[in-house]
């Protein structure tokens, strides 16, 4: 089959990929810089074609709870927003994690705190990987660094979500959301039928048939012993994710003396910084975590054995750097360079920081 190659914004790619991967429903609320996701879905009218439901909710709070309802039915459902809207969704995300349901949440991050700025940022790293809402839970967090990955991670996100019955977040930012690149769209998958869902997802609220017990989607358990057992089960699941789902990418790390660590759009900027540094004879490589949870701590620990130092580059005040430091565990210096408030670091700035902070 001929490849379906398009020039698309990251946000548009998310929408197109959602339709293609057989997503059943999208519920959202407009916010810059990700409104193109719902706009594209509405323009594409997938309900005419695949039967996918697209609904503009009255708030981010309502949207995530519509996702919660749809996820309970065993459907592939998703929402998207940007930072302030994702804060509003945290209650619902916590419930979805507590009820062990799969769903996909896209955060096209902008600068905060508060209303902040609409410009790109990575300041929601902590919120995404350390919980966000109340209770001990984890999201699987995927950090795309290209429009192609925006498209690819929709399907991957649903796959992981259903594998672990856990919410998955795509943590993107205004750069990846707004930029256009070449993207190969996946072929159209069929949505599951009601019968297929009933057969595959025995927990789903598809209506109580005579041959089974009632299904109840809930995160409530007033008996503390049982609630502790639930929590221990969740933690075991997160441990399995940590062992089996770590994804990362290395660039020029084999002979490198120093390592840059960056995710998402910052990793693209650092990629260029590596090229610039190598032109000047500085042997530097790049590690890009693709999953932010589970975090590639083992790989970073291994690099710490034979590299001289690390520079973590983020569009925030230093969040992922804490996880890098935990992984390096004091063996080598781990420095940080970041820009805040919607300012995007340039490759030259990264190179300069590398020279002044890390290179001996």
């Amino acid at each position: 089959m001929k490849e379906d190659i398009r020039l698309l914004k990251g946000n548009e790619a998310i929408a197109m990929a959602a339709i293609r991967c057989g997503c059943d429903g999208y519920f959202g609320y407009p916010i810059t810089p990700q409104s193109e996701i719902m706009e594209t879905l509405m323009a594409e009218q997938p309900w005419e074609d695949t039967g996918m439901v697209v609904l503009q909710a009255e708030s981010e709070v309502a949207a995530i709870n519509m996702v919660y309802g749809g996820a309970g039915c065993g459907k592939k459902v998703m929402t998207s927003s940007s930072s302030p809207g994702i804060s509003l969704k945290q209650e619902g995300i916590s419930y979805i994690a507590g009820a062990e349901l799969p769903c996909l949440i896209v955060n096209v991050v902008r600068g905060g705190p508060g209303l902040g700025t609409i410009q790109p940022s990575q300041a929601d790293y902590f919120q995404a990987v350390k919980g966000g809402g109340h209770g001990d839970y984890k999201l699987i967090v995927l950090a795309p660094n290209s429009v192609q990955e925006m498209a690819d991670f929709v399907d991957l996100g649903f796959e992981l979500g259903f594998k672990y019955r856990n919410p998955v977040m795509i943590l993107s930012d205004g750069i990846i959301g707004q930029m256009m690149e070449r993207v190969v769209l996946p072929p159209q998958k069929k949505r599951l039928t009601e019968a297929e869902i009933e057969e595959k997802y025995l927990w789903a609220t598809t209506g109580k048939k005579n041959n089974r017990k009632q299904n109840v989607i809930t995160s409530l358990e007033l008996d503390s012993e049982s609630m502790e057992a639930n929590n221990l089960r969740f933690q075991e699941k997160y441990q399995v994710m940590q062992e089996e789902e770590v994804r990362y990418e290395e660039y020029m790390s084999d002979d490198a003396d120093y390592m840059l660590v960056a995710f998402g759009s910052c990793a693209r900027i650092c990629h260029k910084a590596v090229e610039l540094a190598r032109e000047q004879g500085i042997k530097v490589g790049l590690l890009r975590p693709i999953t932010l949870f589970p975090f590639p701590k083992k790989q970073i620990a291994e690099l710490a054995e034979n590299k001289k130092g690390f520079l973590t580059v983020e569009m925030n005040a230093g969040q992922m750097v804490e996880d890098v430091r935990l992984a390096v565990c004091g063996k080598k210096p781990v420095e940080f360079f970041g820009r805040l408030g919607g300012i995007v670091p340039t490759p030259d700035e990264v190179l300069e920081a590398l020279k002044t902070k890390v290179v001996q």
Partner: protein, 253 residues
């Protein structure tokens, strides 16, 4: 005739709905919830839609409703039931979907979800238990608490100059174009119970022809929260709640 003889199924004039489980209800004696649960179970059984029904339980006294009616349930966050139900119904439009919510859940923290689900004409049924008080958390003031009514957070009686006025949510949603059927009922007498059941049945039947939303408000007692005997609470309901929340259809189109 001994007791076993009398209890034979053929001698029973009224049996417990098969959809009601044997789990003892946690509701206080005299509470309206049990009666309304029974009516819903009977309606679902009589309509033969047990296999096609998904219900959304609230946060409030009815949080464990799923323990008592043997159908699929989804437990929502406080106030979010209409949004959760929207997700369920939009993705499974052939299912019968209802939310079961109290006044704090539906008329305070979930007002936005309620109004907008009603305005979109979401084709599901909202069962609204209005007893003018937060029962589960121990009798605090609700948006529907009457003027002068004493609760633990309005111990001198609701002062409308401070706390605003009783919120008449059924009156608010009835004019919305998305709504098809809005009614106020009660379950304090056998006649009222029969009427309430009819209303619930109608609200479920409406889902069949996909015309829009139905809301059945049950003006209820909370004798524990109101600090009255069940019998006294029923009298107080008639004397005080009904003037503020008059029984009858607000919309039926």
């Amino acid at each position: 005739m001994d007791i076993k003889e009398i209890m034979k199924p053929e001698n029973q004039v009224k049996a417990k709905s098969k959809l009601l489980t044997d789990v003892p209800m946690h509701y206080c004696p005299g509470c309206s919830h049990g009666v309304v649960h029974k009516l819903i179970a009977e309606v679902i059984e009589e309509m033969g839609i047990q296999e096609n029904t998904v219900a959304v339980s609230p946060v409030g006294c009815a949080v464990f409703a799923y323990n008592y009616i043997d159908i699929d349930w989804h437990e929502a966050a406080h106030g979010r039931a209409p949004a959760v139900a929207t997700g369920i119904k939009r993705l499974q439009p052939d299912k019968f979907v209802f939310t079961y919510q109290g006044d704090g859940d539906l008329a305070a923290i979930g007002t936005a979800e309620t109004i907008h689900a009603c305005n979109r004409g979401e084709n599901f049924t909202i069962i609204f238990i209005n007893n003018g008080i937060y029962g589960m958390t121990g009798g605090q003031m609700a948006p529907t608490t009457l003027e002068g009514m004493k609760t633990s957070t309005s111990p001198q009686g609701r002062d409308v100059s401070m706390a605003g006025f009783p919120l008449k949510i059924a009156d608010m949603v009835a004019p919305l174009d998305g709504m098809r059927y809005v009614t106020r009922q009660s379950v304090h007498t056998p006649t009222a119970v029969r009427k309430a059941k009819k209303a619930i049945r109608k609200a479920f039947e409406n889902q069949k022809d996909n015309k829009g939303g139905s809301l059945v408000e049950i003006v209820s007692t909370c004798n524990a929260g109101w600090k009255m005997t069940p019998a006294k609470a029923n009298e107080w309901l008639v004397d005080n709640m009904f003037p503020a929340y008059p029984i009858g259809d607000l919309k039926n189109v």
